[in-house]
Symmetry: C2
Subunit: 205 residues, 2 copies
């Protein structure tokens, strides 16, 4: 393992099942190549809808049906207890994203495990992870003070941390979830993880 | 090789570099699994712009830059003499698509080789493959009568053949290029060719 190489950036939105799928594999993949991973929040609602001017993926004719099928197929292939977009509550991802950024800043040792629990609560248990009390409860499972976390989600610091991260995503050309950057090289979508791994193995081309 | 299995459907638009990339590999991939491939024309201008209501990929903020980079990266990885979207003439893909459908109907033995020549004339030589005389000349390289082909491109039969194929694409949920269907199972994008191959190997999941 080399400590010299910068971490791989892994950008995700809690609203994105493919972001969840990628989150389950990226750290192991990186470790095989002596890399660490920095998990970073982005918001599809900002990049896709506001900046790119597109409609939400699942509401796009033809593509919405394909993506539902593709996500279910991925989950079967990887043995995941994935409920699917039509079986989970509609999610405003601001609160979990703010919570993630706040935990990353204040309890970095558990921030990935916390994100993993948020993701799995949503996609495998259909919990509404936009509710501060649900976020607090999930944080408690990682040794965080639930009341402090629930309050933080609605506070200015978490809001500002996420705002900065979303701005950084746009600046870096990050528009999707998952989105990876390896030494500045961008890889979009879970399908690109094999190519990303080849890039790590070979040093790129 | 089994003759019992239906062909894999390979849908493409001449305007799509990723369609070209896929065209170079799909028949070999299918043959390894005892399958043939039916090449079929679709039009991104109809599916993406008219039906899905999206803007052209290369004109989409952020995504356009990413896709340019991704296509160039793919070409380097596979050793292709790819000029890139900014170095080729703007293409109205109707004429080459009509020509392809007409050749497929009238000279099926050469229709794939003809499509391959159209694709490579455009993406590696920057030729304007929307011009009937260019199409005729490329057809001559495959033993086709150039004047007859150039005339056919502008005739009602080729127009009708393409119209029917594009309608079939929409009916089948085909919205991108490349797009594959294996026994009805859809796979969109060149990145999905490895998954498609796994599907063929395993029979699906």
């Amino acid at each position: 393992m080399s400590d010299d190489k910068p971490p791989i950036e892994f950008w995700f939105d809690f609203i994105s099942p493919f972001g969840w799928f990628a989150s389950l594999r990226i750290d192991d993949l990186a470790a095989k190549h002596g890399r660490t991973v920095e998990w970073r929040s982005m918001l599809l609602g900002v990049s896709v809808m506001k900046v790119m001017g597109l409609k939400p993926l699942l509401d796009t004719p033809m593509k919405g049906d394909y993506v539902r099928r593709d996500a279910a197929r991925y989950a079967r292939r990887h043995g995941l207890a994935f409920l699917g977009a039509d079986a989970v509550p509609v999610l405003n991802p601001l609160a979990p994203a703010r919570a993630f950024q706040w935990v990353k800043a204040h309890a970095p040792d558990v921030h990935k495990a916390f994100a993993a629990s948020l993701y799995s609560a949503y996609w495998t248990e259909a919990r509404d992870i936009s509710r501060p009390e649900v976020i607090g409860e999930i944080g408690a499972g990682h040794g965080l003070d639930p009341a402090a976390l629930a309050a933080a989600v609605e506070g200015e610091e978490a809001r500002e941390l996420l705002r900065a991260e979303v701005a950084a995503a746009l600046e870096a050309g990050v528009f999707g979830s998952p989105f990876f950057r390896v030494d500045g090289e961008p890889f979009w979508a879970v399908e690109k993880m094999e190519l990303l791994e080849e890039w790590l193995s070979t040093g790129g081309w």
